[in-house]
Symmetry: C2
Subunit: 419 residues, 2 copies
């Protein structure tokens, strides 16, 4: 994999040039992309022109960043994973794309998304084992980073679309606090849930990128949390996690303890647990509105699964939706209280390693609640199941306290590397 | 003016046909539009075809609804008030447009917006006095309803862009609770503030439309609040309101008292007052991000005022922005407490009647705070200054309690009519 922060420092110091880095990526793409299928659009010539002009005095200094194809780009086509938008060229770049460019980054291509970032899979295969799903909906962004084709990629999460593919592909996935990265110019599925996130090799890599893209004090460098207080949380959905997921969670807890942290296994407050069930109410009520033009205009060009999903969603009553939002708000407050005693929660990233085959991108069962809570979340890789497939664990931080979450994730990453 | 709810009931009962209503609008448009300039796009032939197919069993039953040109429409061009988007045809209707059509309404035209719903005025003149501004940024929507060209129109408010033009044009303006109408497909200026709103003749008209568009229990019909408990609030910006605005606010309070309400003049909690100052921090930090493509691509095609505004906004620190959001959140909680004792607040809609001339669309000084609070707000017309220009007063309700706010506004409307 490519280490974004190290590369950025090399670029800034003149030890590496942006064109040379781009060629490294282009070679990896030439080699890996035919098998992986992480991209739906690539313009390496345009990227080469941008690399020639890259400025080492910018935070990203010529780093290539992949952008999930649910996000608008003026120059590269933007299809949202749907035949309805084949060849679509939006009128404007999404602000996150502008921000990448303003900070000196380069966008060489668009990465595969499931259809409208919902469940119908794209073409991407898991770089860790080609017969397995990379997860979704940010399939291409996770795979491009895992395969070493790009040092960084942008994804989005409405259920579990950043953390799950990161776990399945064995990379770091970071879903910042809700709205810390602007979602404008992404095709909306659910405006109370859609969250932009980042994929990179290590925690410090996504932290560096997030600092550049948000202007916030998130570049943790080599720092890690000192003696973090961790709540280990299996949640009420514990039975959905397989043996490998439980083993990984326990191993992660033990590694943190050995590194000087304290780990207490706790049950979530009932109100927080209960909020998991309201996620689909909010998501689906909003999806029916968000995709109303596509449904009204060309329902026959939606996948049968999405079409049926939207038709079921149309029956959600607005009263249930309003009550779901109130319940989520109370749960957010209650979850906040928990962080008086803990620096972060440690939980499953997914029910297990990447499932075999491509019919499904896997389950967001361990992600939906945290998306709804707006919490900063990281998938920390470094553990495997007995067949050698990556099994991630998830660090969940306090709303708005992303730096603390990143520091705990970095501590876990280091502790796992030392096992 | 055209009374939307009465017309809808006539359409549903077969006392009126959609084509006949559309012709009534078309005649008013033919007569008034050359002087008023409320529209940037009109397609009456398409509207006629839609009216022929209108179904009386739908809530809107063929009612024509104007849509502010900051909102995407596939068929009608969408220019966001900017030469940068002249002739632009978005790929999808905004969900609010789909919702109008799903509920049986017809969109005959796009109404004038200021440039990107900011301050650079459009061509619209005030139907109540042609030498005066109609207010902004929803200039065309307010004017189209005031001139009797349409029974309903959609606008948006980020500072004071629904309530102020409604006050200046002497119509009912209704800004629902934040996010009760979906803002997807409107050109974003500030995602924490942009709010969709409605213009109609009377309170029951916007209530009827809001019920149709949101599915919520808002169709108040002839009902009004019984003995409402009102807090009269002049705010810390009281000195910005002129004598006519103060006289109108007092007259409104007295009318409500005569109608059986109780009216107490109060000061807002300090934390709520202080939040007014953080509105521009949030708005402008987000505007610099939201309009990044337009600024980077073609700053020379922005008005000098907007360009300078964005350049100043670029200097707002993310820390100040994050603190502003925290302060707004605390103020929202504190404001909520106030509604234990009151059903609604009564305050200024604007500093006075519509200013003469067209250089400015007027001041949002009495609107920004309530936009930031996300509160449901209504401009209630019915009072005039000594020259006969309308002076509105504003009813502010509790977050999420739109029906209560509508009932108080309807009580005020009735009380003013009986003066």
């Amino acid at each position: 994999m490519l280490f974004a922060r190290d590369l950025a420092l090399d670029l800034k110091a003149g030890r590496l040039t942006a064109p040379a880095l781009l060629e490294r990526c282009a070679e990896a793409i030439a080699e890996q992309e035919p098998e992986i299928g992480a991209f739906v659009a690539l313009d390496l010539d345009a990227a080469r022109r941008a690399a020639e002009k890259a400025r080492p005095d910018t935070p990203l200094a010529g780093l290539p960043v992949g952008v999930k194809d649910i996000i608008d780009t003026r120059d590269l086509p933007t299809a949202y994973g749907s035949p309805l938008y084949a060849g679509h060229h939006p009128a404007a770049d999404a602000p996150i794309v502008r921000q990448i460019v303003r900070m000196g980054g380069i966008v060489p291509g668009k990465t595969v998304t499931t259809e409208f970032a919902h469940m119908a899979p794209g073409k991407t295969r898991n770089p860790r084992r080609l017969t397995h799903t990379p997860g979704g909906s940010s399939s291409g962004s996770a795979a491009a980073v895992a395969a070493g084709m790009l040092p960084l990629a942008i994804g989005t999460q409405t259920g579990g679309s950043v953390i799950r593919p990161a776990a399945f592909c064995g990379v770091t996935g970071y879903k910042p606090t809700f709205r810390n990265l602007p979602t404008l110019g992404m095709k909306t599925f659910s405006w109370h849930l859609d969250t932009m996130g980042l994929f990179g090799a290590r925690v410090r890599d996504v932290a560096y990128a997030a600092a550049a893209l948000t202007g916030r004090d998130l570049d943790i460098g080599e720092r890690t949390a000192d003696a973090p207080r961790i709540a280990l949380v299996r949640t009420a959905r514990s039975h959905l996690a397989d043996a490998a997921a439980h083993a990984a969670l326990e191993a992660a807890g033990k590694a943190l303890e050995r590194a000087g942290g304290t780990v207490h296994e706790i049950d979530l407050p009932e109100e927080v647990e209960a909020a998991d069930a309201v996620h689909p109410v909010i998501q689906d009520f909003e999806a029916w509105i968000a995709l109303s033009d596509e449904y009204d205009r060309a329902a026959d060009q939606l996948s049968p699964g999405l079409r049926a999903h939207l038709e079921a969603s149309a029956r959600i009553e607005v009263g249930a939706y309003d009550e779901a939002r109130r319940q989520a708000k109370r749960a957010r407050q209650r979850l906040g209280d928990l962080f008086a005693d803990y620096d972060a929660l440690l939980t499953f990233s997914a029910p297990g390693a990447a499932p075999e085959g491509f019919a499904s991108t896997g389950s967001p069962a361990f992600n939906r609640l945290w998306t709804l809570m707006g919490s900063p979340c990281l998938n920390v890789p470094g553990l495997q199941d007995e067949t050698g497939l990556p099994v991630g664990v998830q660090v969940v931080g306090r709303f708005g306290r992303d730096r603390a979450a990143l520091l705990v994730a970095a501590a876990l990453e280091r502790a796992l590397a030392r096992r």
